[in-house]
Symmetry: C2
Subunit: 219 residues, 2 copies
């Protein structure tokens, strides 16, 4: 666990909290870690949870499969990010999505009740922790709003441009990598993979963008 203290210190949840404080906090929050194989579920639809999860290593997809096996990817969780915090905060609500490791992953779990319940002594930074959680929720909220913006476009081309523009803006450069392969991107944007692939090539031929695998350049 010690190994991850520097990374934890820079996570959104523990931002502004010293490394020494952090170690004692982890006890206080009854922190446990667990490893997951590629393809293994961290959380499953219908479950109720009382811990927030912090991804120490690996990559998690928040996703769902419908009746006919069609996969829909809600979001990608990368190292240092939180997930499950919504349902941990809501307590009694059932999860609507699965959280699946797409790489071998290591996850830290923190009891949300202990985050929300003030411990009178020890944790000087408890208030900070709660505000960090609040900010993390607000940021995820904004991210979902942006995703809705992509999804509300009518055509595959518009969805792609909306998504790629955001990625470019986030990278602060017209050159950037995306965290999805074609099938995953299609599942993320809820479009047909082959039609999307064709659309990407059409845009490339029109000079709107260029790409190689996950690497994109917007013109």
């Amino acid at each position: 666990m010690k190994k991850y203290l520097p990374r934890l210190k820079n996570s959104k949840l523990f931002q502004g909290i010293g490394e020494d404080e952090l170690a004692s906090m982890l006890d206080c929050l009854s922190a446990v870690t667990r490893n997951y194989y590629k393809g293994e579920s961290v959380f499953s639809r219908g479950e109720r949870i009382d811990s927030v999860a912090l991804l120490l290593e690996g990559c998690i997809h928040i996703q769902k499969e419908d009746y006919w096996g069609n996969l829909s990817i809600l979001s990608e969780i990368s190292e240092g990010e939180l997930f499950g915090e919504v349902y941990a905060c809501l307590g009694s609500d059932e999860l609507l999505n699965n959280a699946v490791a797409v790489k071998p992953s290591k996850v830290l779990f923190l009891d949300v009740k202990r985050i929300l319940t003030m411990c009178p002594s020890a944790c000087r930074f408890h208030g900070r922790l709660i505000r960090n959680l609040l900010t993390a929720l607000a940021q995820k909220n904004k991210m979902l709003t942006q995703k809705l913006e992509h999804m509300s476009r009518r055509t595959t081309r518009e969805k792609l441009l909306s998504y790629l523009s955001e990625q470019s803006q986030r990278a602060g450069s017209p050159v950037f990598d995306i965290p999805f392969n074609r099938q995953q991107l299609a599942d993320f944007l809820s479009v047909d993979r082959s039609a999307m692939s064709a659309e990407l090539c059409r845009m490339r031929d029109e000079g709107i963008l260029s790409f190689d695998r996950n690497h994109f350049i917007l013109n």
Copy 2:
């Protein structure tokens, strides 16, 4: 303001806080109210805000218009609900959507810094307030996830069924009213109004549902 105390007491933000406490809190949070005409903007895209808004009376749509004037409705805010809390919590981020009164409305504004910053004396319930804000954010987060579920459906019919099922479940009955007219529902689901109208009638003819204006019955 006194007039709204009972309603405030039952809002998500002030849940669990006594009416007497509430009155003193409102001072502490530098609460102000303002009235809006139908069609007037409460918040506008690109703005930065530092107050959360609580709708005392009326109805607000969180929406956006694109380049070509196509309207997209992100969500509907009804009486007692919060809005703007995401951007108030994020502080430096610009709003991505407009908040527009679709009826004459009365809005209460509360300085978010005062919510987040512990006041040492007076407000015994301050911790409760912060946890309420956290819960409100988590609930909105879940709502956005559900909307993404509707939007990720491929066909207009599936989007409608996904949305109507949720509304039915929320109402706890196969008989329910929706808060949108046809054009608004189309703008909410990002589909063509006339095609959606046709689809609704087809579903009615197939016996899947019946409706009259905003009133729906699922079979």
